[in-house]
């Protein structure tokens, strides 16, 4: 039986600092660097969906088409969801339920407002983004924050949510798996 302990305030503060320091959406459309490719390779390896090629889209309309592509891979989404639920169950066994839920909600709300503004700035800079796409970008980024927080609170230090967050922190937006490709913006 897992002992119920207090939430790790220092770890949450550290995560908050990482969120504030991240270059949210600052490198959208730019050529991929070696670092981006290494993070993308780590992310695809963690997904365990076989060899995925890395693809790059360079503007918002392309990104929107990719996000609505009929051949997008539900396996990618399901893999993340399965892991999230497993890690959330582990965190729930470790921390008081209301404190855990409150911390995750407040962290995600705070991050959501930050990334929404960053997505709006990127969209204004690049042009051609549908208004709703800013909300989509903010949803994707705040989900990444939530997933990472759950993983760390569960004591998982090397989950696929770490490499996914690193891509966002480097200014990228991983748009998901379409066919046999991980698409990055």
């Amino acid at each position: 039986m897992t002992e119920i302990v207090a939430l790790p305030g220092a770890a949450l503060d550290h995560l908050r600092a990482e969120i504030r320091a991240a270059s949210w959406f600052a490198a959208l459309g730019e050529p991929l660097t070696e670092g981006d490719q290494a993070d993308a390779a780590a992310y695809t390896a963690s997904l365990g969906l076989g060899g995925l090629a890395i693809d790059l889209v360079t503007d918002w309309p392309q990104a929107e088409r990719s996000l609505k592509a009929p051949d997008w891979s539900p396996a990618w989404w399901d893999r993340e969801e399965t892991l999230r639920k497993k890690l959330l169950a582990r965190a729930e066994a470790r921390y008081p339920e209301r404190a855990l839920w409150g911390a995750l909600t407040e962290l995600t709300t705070e991050a959501g407002e930050l990334v929404h503004g960053k997505a709006a700035t990127a969209a204004a800079r690049m042009g051609e983004a549908a208004k709703a796409s800013i909300h989509v970008a903010a949803g994707a980024a705040s989900q990444a924050v939530y997933q990472l927080a759950v993983a760390r609170l569960a004591g998982e230090v090397d989950s696929l949510f770490e490499s996914k967050f690193r891509l966002f922190a480097a200014g990228r937006w991983p748009l998901g798996v379409v066919g046999s490709r991980l698409v990055l913006f």
Partner: protein
């Protein structure tokens, strides 16, 4: 008769009449709980039903904004001295009946955003001139997000009605959920509403809001070729 007072800060609230303080507390508790129920029962489960990553992440954002509304109302309640347990579900106040039906499909979620979020907009609109300014300001901060959620309902309704199958599924969802929505505005002879209006915390009677809602919901449904089922009004 209305009473003319204005409460500009949470600190000033302690000097307001007890009836006024109780009335604004009831509203804050009600919003904090209902925002949380909505996010838990509809928005978060809808992410799994959304058909594409675009729709999934848009739904994620909507869910997070709804959770965020709960957080904002709860923070205001905490500043007012309301215990946290009174602002979360399962601790006394019964949820609205619509929250007792678990979400079963994407079409249901779209119908809820189209019509239930319109009801939420009307509730928030009525607070935009509230004499308790912290609540008025919170309503103003919340309003653009509520409008976006209703627009989400319109945008995905427009997508669904492009096919006969999608339109039929959306109409079925409207038929199932709409009958619960007019009661969202409370009883015709509500004592709470009388007190809210007496102190200019809210502006309109429950019946005036309900009639306005049904009119606006009918117009929005018609834009997408949808009809609203007859609803028997309870007092």
């Amino acid at each position: 008769m209305t009473q003319r007072i204005t409460v500009k800060t949470v600190e000033e609230l302690k000097d307001a009449p007890e009836e006024y303080r109780e009335a604004v507390s009831k509203l804050v508790i009600s919003h904090a709980i209902n925002e949380l129920y909505g996010a838990r029962v509809f928005d978060e489960p809808a992410i799994a039903y959304a058909p594409t990553p675009y729709a999934k992440w848009l739904t994620c954002r909507v869910a997070m904004e709804e959770y965020g509304h709960h957080v904002r109302f709860k923070q205001l309640g905490e500043q007012m001295g309301i215990p946290e347990e009174r602002m979360v579900p399962g601790t006394g106040k019964r949820p609205l009946s619509i929250f007792e039906f678990p979400l079963k499909s994407w079409e249901e979620f779209v119908a809820i955003k189209l019509l239930a979020d319109l009801a939420e907009i009307l509730q928030v609109e009525d607070l935009l001139h509230c004499t308790f300014h912290p609540l008025r300001n919170l309503a103003r901060a919340t309003m653009p997000e509520e409008r976006f959620h209703a627009q989400f309902g319109e945008d995905f309704s427009a997508e669904l009605v492009k096919t006969p199958k999608g339109k039929a599924a959306l109409q079925a969802a409207v038929n199932e959920y709409f009958p619960y929505l007019p009661s969202f505005f409370g009883g015709s002879k509500s004592r709470n509403n009388e007190i809210f209006r007496k102190w200019n915390i809210k502006q309109r009677t429950n019946d005036e809001m309900r009639a306005d809602y049904v009119k606006r919901a009918t117009e929005i449904a018609a834009k997408y070729g949808l009809t609203l089922p007859e609803v028997r009004q309870a007092a």
